[in-house]
């Protein structure tokens, strides 16, 4: 299939991209990795009049830990994260897990984290991860650059807090302390498929072994990635136990509100949400040396 015709504008910097977007407004789409956008264009489901290609914008191509924050620029690729030196540190285990199961290994060499967040697919992996890790998105708007918490960023299916003429510049993940570990549990029908169900988990423990912070989020469980607040509340302040994990899993299952599709029925996906959340918690704890 061949996309419908469009105008192509290449931006060499964030400023230039923003200027293009301001000028062409609703007709324009940002082209980053293009791994969701281009297939949609080939089916002519998406037919933007203008593409603003930011792949040459060097100031958006960063992946660095800076001042307690992991900064991922708008054209940093999934595979850059997969291969980063620091990724093997236990505190990044959630991000490490997810970087290896997004789409397929070739798609990941073009696909971007920020692009995935902006696409906000209900079955996205990065959106779910960003929720569990409490990320912040940097958005460039008319009145300058602002930061948006991931919870506010994800508005609805395929809809984010980035308005017409705006663009997301980067996502920031707070650097977790060293008593932190996470896990990403995904069930997919095959490599490259969207998640049938997935759970992102990140836990930080206190010195006494109780949970200091908990992030639990689900993919393919609603209009967009959902945070399981109930599970997070249950966990914080508690010493991990089999019962606690079971209860958190049940909370995840309750919170899940999936759509039936070829991947599975509503009941199956709801059940999986609980199973995967519990498995994620157990694995995160195991990575912290806690067996339950």
């Amino acid at each position: 299939m061949i996309p419908a015709a469009f105008d192509y504008l290449r931006a060499h910097s964030a400023d230039e991209a923003f200027a293009h977007l301001q000028k062409r407004g609703a007709d324009a789409r940002v082209l980053a990795g293009g791994q969701s956008l281009i297939p949609a264009m080939r089916f002519r489901l998406a037919r933007p009049a203008v593409l603003v290609d930011i792949n040459a914008a060097g100031d958006l191509n960063h992946l660095r830990v800076n001042d307690g924050v992991l900064e991922i620029g708008a054209i940093a690729r999934d595979s850059d994260i997969e291969r980063a030196q620091w990724i093997t540190d236990r505190r990044w285990s959630l991000i490490r897990d997810v970087s290896r199961v997004v789409a397929d290994p070739v798609v990941r060499q073009m696909a971007t984290v920020v692009g995935s967040l902006c696409h906000n697919d209900p079955a996205g992996d990065w959106t779910t991860t960003a929720l569990a890790a409490r990320a912040i998105v940097v958005v460039r708007g008319k009145s300058g650059t602002r930061t948006v918490s991931i919870d506010e960023f994800l508005v609805d299916s395929f809809t984010t807090a980035v308005s017409e003429g705006e663009m997301a510049l980067a996502v920031h993940f707070p650097v977790p302390d060293d008593r932190t570990a996470g896990s990403y549990q995904k069930i997919e029908r095959k490599v490259g498929d969207f998640a049938t169900a997935a759970a992102a988990v990140q836990l930080s423990l206190n010195a006494n072994g109780t949970v200091r912070e908990a992030g639990v989020a689900l993919s393919a469980a609603g209009p967009c990635a959902v945070r399981v607040e109930e599970a997070e509340r249950l966990l914080v302040g508690q010493k991990p136990s089999a019962d606690l994990i079971r209860a958190a899993g049940e909370a995840a299952s309750r919170r899940s509100s999936p759509q039936a599709d070829l991947r599975g029925s509503v009941e199956y996906k709801k059940d999986l949400a609980g199973v995967l959340a519990a498995r994620g918690l157990r694995q995160a704890l195991s990575r912290l040396g806690v067996q339950v």
Partner: protein, 162 residues
């Protein structure tokens, strides 16, 4: 629009519509038909080429305009004169191909994989190739071929092959 792409070391400067996918640019503008197209959804990997020496990309999910100013390696650029690339030789030796349609993309994905992981085990190879589909071989001989190529490439001095 005008784009200039260096393919297998040779520069191709052409006027194309912005909507021209890199795969069709290579096939129809450069006459390099070894890059194949098998789907519309970035699923099959028949179109994989290597960009800037290290990144395996699906050239049907990328516009030619995005390759402007970049280096692309296609299957036609693998052999060195009359000598097959160790990856090509290994696919031949291990019967890693049947109909041949997925083979170029599969080999280029594997070439990029070995740049990152010069000594992958079977599980890593299977993971690394999982963005490419093959309908004929059942993958087993492809995995063996990549193992053979890895062994050969590790013994060669850096920069000796693409």
């Amino acid at each position: 629009m005008r784009v200039k792409v260096t393919v297998n070391g040779a520069a191709y400067e052409r006027d194309v519509e912005p909507r021209t996918l890199l795969a069709y640019f290579l096939r129809e503008q450069c006459g390099l038909t070894g890059t194949h197209v098998g789907c519309d959804t970035s699923s099959c990997g028949c179109c994989v080429v290597v960009m800037d020496g290290e990144r395996a990309v699906k050239s049907c999910t990328m516009f030619a305009a995005q390759a402007d100013g970049h280096q692309i390696l296609t299957v036609e650029g693998l052999a060195n004169g009359g000598t097959l690339h160790p990856m090509q030789q290994a696919f031949w030796d291990q019967h890693g191909l049947q109909c041949g349609y997925c083979t170029p993309g599969m080999m280029l994905t594997a070439v990029a994989l070995l740049k990152r992981h010069p000594n992958p085990d079977e599980a890593e190879i299977r993971e690394g190739l999982s963005g490419n589909l093959c309908r004929c071989t059942g993958y087993q001989n492809i995995v063996k071929a990549v193992q053979q190529a890895a062994d050969v490439l590790r013994q060669q001095p850096a920069g000796a092959v693409k």
